[in-house]
Symmetry: C3
Subunit: 160 residues, 3 copies
């Protein structure tokens, strides 16, 4: 039907083939807020950093400390963490439908490749969810992010 | 039921106990846009600066000009101003239910404590609204904000 | 009824009187994501840069490289591009109703006039759509934007 249609198996299988596990609970420094909130059928997922096993592997700015390839891996990890929250909100990763993704890239004032960083997260969403992973997106370069993370991702989702 | 359940009285009473009054109308430099807009039952509140009596008490960047504690007070004030708009949209502060909060913190490139600033606003929402104040959240560090405000807050709400 | 009520004719006519054509398809570097996504009746439009005929006329930061007047023209162009996407989502520019606009302005840390830049986009929306163009808005100053664009605009819309 479309070349963005994912190969067979569940979304979890496809995620696993890409080398990612879904964290039991997306890591967060959140006691003051919740990982997601429903508004009718819409799910707002809190901004996710690229934590892996409770650690941020890389800190700093694109254009100064962090290369685009490294940031692309971080963007994928942050997207996986956001998917974990979305899956727990919806009850099943296969039923998650992405509506909108905001990608924040900690950037020097002269860095202009935020889209290449964000593309890595966009690709992952479509690889895992197929048509349900296609989304509107806004990528911007910010001065700094919590914990000096190079990347942060916020999703708005719904259920297929 | 939950330790985030607010003590008795109205939301306005709880706000008052915290030392805040609800401004009659949230201050804004807005003639070109509106303080809120409905999309069905969802209310989008325009970004709010920490104006108090028409003044911005502090200007500048976290990590250079403004301490975390001072910025936390500004985040609470911006949240109060956003609540004022939400209350006027919904008709009653007690019926406001927060869905999502975006917290923008004007930051140097090496500042990484945006979450501590945002936590102050998150706490206030729960103290005032209880369960209805619990929200998904994204905190980011931006280069600068209108009027050189250190903090700006945007809310998405609905009605309980 | 209101002085924001547009003069006669279609929204396209009013846009044309302001000197803008609606691009056939809003330009974008997007193969990895889609220009818009529906969530029920709500339309999330992907972030739009001020491309005109496939080109970004100006690059750089407010407060260093780009004057406010030049950035206001870019904000209007980005808003036109976002309207083009919204019109294709809704099927008819006259039926587009704007809910929320996020305006990102690439700024030095001492620039504080993001609202003046964003006002140009807000004015255009109301000039073209009348009451349906009135929106909640958040304007922020970011470190950098894709392609070193000085301005990026994201819209949430619905249908009148």
């Amino acid at each position: 039907m479309s070349d963005s249609r994912p190969e067979g198996g569940t979304a979890l299988t496809r995620l696993s083939r890409l080398g990612y596990a879904l964290p039991a609970q997306a890591p967060s420094d959140a006691e003051k807020y919740v990982p997601y909130r429903h508004d009718g059928a819409t799910v707002h997922v809190a901004g996710q950093l690229p934590y892996l096993d409770g650690e941020l592997a890389v800190r700093g700015l694109l254009g100064r400390d962090v290369a685009v390839q490294a940031a692309r891996a971080l963007a994928r990890q942050a997207a996986v963490n956001a998917l974990a929250v979305a899956a727990s909100a919806v009850g099943n990763l296969d039923r998650v439908r992405i509506v909108q993704m905001l990608v924040f890239v900690a950037s020097t004032s002269d860095f202009g490749e935020q889209s290449r960083v964000a593309d890595a997260a966009s690709e992952l969403l479509v690889e895992v969810l197929g048509e349900g992973g296609r989304h509107a997106r806004t990528a911007i370069g910010v001065a700094a992010l919590p914990q000096n993370s190079p990347v942060e991702i916020q999703l708005i989702c719904t259920t297929t």
